[in-house]
């Protein structure tokens, strides 16, 4: 009972802090990349900026325009947040920190990620706005296209570890970086897991709708995409959901490929290594976003269907064969 409550509060706090301060990190990171200062007025180095933004958003009225499907319009932003927070329940932060080590946790995470996509679809559809509907349609086709190569690469990890339990997968990679799935050696033979890692990382950028794959909110084409009609905390929840999705994506990448809480140099493993890994990954997300222009929706789909899926299929075959041979 206390155990469950502890994790509930802990996960909510982790999610809340990340959702709020990743926004700050993004603004500060973008500012440094662009030779600006970024937020600096509210608190030391603008650290209170997320609070100020949150208060501002909460004090505003949630305007529901005419011709909008009221209930779905209000539910969609919440639906964008919930799956991301729920995903945290199965993520192993360290050997002993993890709310629930489910047998099929990898599968659960993908199921929840799809619900996040449905939130965007519903939000766009309920808005009754043409930009929002185009954005929702783009978002769905994009997520469908990228879930397939993502799952195919995850199968390679599952093949190696023999488990769909994230904790087991992480435990399987303990003992220095040559045990990590990305540099995996099987009986002294190198597997092609780095291909899986690259494909998985590209897919997680696309899954979280981040630049250069942020077609759903391409502001120069679709104003704000599915968020066009949202103001107030509806917009805020979508933004927080986006950041939480990034956190989940980074956690998943770190657990599946980078050894979870394992230390690369044989020092004491622990949650700090896990956090370090996910924040390095998150920084990469931010870095990519502020460096590249946006790609095009059909190029994005071409990349998935014509390049990533064949490569991940081939990679799956090669990995399966290598495991069998060695």
């Amino acid at each position: 009972m206390w155990h469950a409550l502890f994790y509930l509060v802990g996960i909510m706090a982790f999610a809340g802090v990340n959702a709020a301060w990743l926004g700050w990190c993004e603004r500060k990171g973008a500012a440094r990349i662009q030779r600006r200062i970024g937020p600096c007025e509210a608190g030391y180095a603008g650290l209170l900026q997320p609070l100020a933004d949150g208060l501002k958003l909460m004090s505003k009225q949630l305007l529901v325009p005419q011709g909008v499907d009221g209930i779905i319009f209000r539910v969609a932003p919440v639906l964008a947040m919930i799956p991301a927070i729920t995903s945290m329940a199965v993520i192993p932060f360290s050997e002993n920190i993890g709310a629930r080590a489910m047998e099929l946790s990898v599968l659960l995470l993908f199921a929840l990620a799809s619900i996040g996509m449905i939130a965007i679809l519903l939000g766009g559809w309920a808005s009754g706005n043409k930009y929002a509907i185009i954005s929702a349609a783009r978002s769905v086709s994009q997520n469908l296209a990228y879930e397939i190569p993502m799952l195919l690469t995850v199968i390679t990890v599952v093949l190696i570890s023999g488990s769909m339990n994230l904790r087991e997968i992480a435990l399987d990679q303990q003992g220095g970086f040559w045990h990590w799935n990305i540099f995996r050696l099987e009986n002294g033979h190198f597997l092609t897991m780095w291909v899986s890692f690259i494909i998985f990382f590209i897919c997680s950028v696309a899954e979280t709708n981040r630049a250069p794959f942020d077609m759903a909110e391409a502001e120069s084409e679709l104003v704000a995409g599915f968020m066009t009609e949202y103001g107030s905390m509806g917009f805020g929840l979508f933004m927080m959901g986006e950041y939480l999705n990034i956190v989940v994506g980074a956690c998943l990448t770190a657990t599946l490929f980078l050894g979870g809480w394992d230390c690369p140099f044989g020092l004491t493993p622990g949650i700090w290594w896990f956090l370090l890994k996910i924040y390095v990954l998150i920084f990469t997300f931010i870095w990519i976003r502020w460096t590249y222009p946006r790609t095009q929706i059909y190029r994005l789909l071409n990349l998935s269907w014509k390049i990533l899926i064949p490569f991940s299929l081939a990679n799956l075959l090669v990995t399966a064969a290598l495991i069998k041979v060695f």
Binding site: K130, I134, E219, S220, Y292, P293, R294, T295, Q296
Partner: protein, 372 residues
Amino acid sequence: MTVPVHLRHDETFVLNLGPQHPATHGVLRVKLTMDGEYIVKAEPVLGYIHRMHEKLAEGGTFAQFMPNTARMDYLHALAFNHGWALVVEKAAGIEVPERAEYIRVITVELNRIASHLLWWAAFLLDLGGFTPLLYAFDDREKIIDLLERVTGSRLTYCYMRFGGVYNDIDDEFIAGTRDFIKRLRGRMPRLYHDLVTHNIILIKRIKDIGFISAEQCRRYGATGPVARGSGISYDIRKNEPYSVYPEFDFDIPVFAEGDSMARYMVRMHEMEQSMRIIEQALDKLPGGPVMGKAPKVLKPGAGYYYSAVETARGSLGHRLVCNGDKNPYKLKLRSPTFSNLSLFGEVAEGMLLADALAFMGSLDLVIPEIDR
């Protein structure tokens, strides 16, 4: 997109792009008839920022119209200043001292670089790259500081006078301009080209997108980088030289591909050519006054006068009708963006929305210059 699409004309919806839309840079409205994400028909709708500048010219004296010229194309305001000064000087037969001509060329070319830098930044913003904007504005800021020093304004200049310029340039301006050229030359290959021009995503976004043929350019009267990106070597500075441009050695960049990439490359090369012109002008800068003899009250003889200049967006023509009074009887401007925008409807047909907006960005539209 190179794949031919079969557009269904019966299952369409209308998408209103603008007048308030992040991609239309100002108050352009485009009525798009869409089939999914494909454009079936695009109609630019103008008139949201019409201020009757040409009619206003008739109400005041010739000099009183000078500030208005800068309010039309606020990105290359000095070229509009220059165009108006040229046509009135032609009408009234005013001589311009050589030093003033050189200063005009230097400031106009600096302003052209600033305009192209801003276009570059806005174009990348249209393509979803936010960061280049800040770097381009960093460089543009240097130009604006220099121009503020001699003209007194930062954006809407009123620097030219009939018979010269308002203010002489000083050593600090000359040194600052040389420093700026050195700085931009240093940053151009690494920052602008390595990071942006050669970026695979950018190339995929703009190469073979928005093809304009030379025939279309001629039909619509497109000029400037749009025509030069379609293989038409036409630049007023070379073809109908004015001011002291014939004294400088510079090239007209022409790319024959006709796609958005070609227009991009034309503008990038033009910045380099403008820097060459400025350097030569600074080297050859003669002494003397910057203001010639001009009557206090201008009363050009009755008649029709025409002169054209090359702005950053194409050729700008002033057609002035005088009836011997101290006001213009009639003024008609031929502004480049209007013709360039007219192309949009025909070319955008069958394009994807995102491609059409990338194409629109490559046209370098300044709406207040269309809606005078």
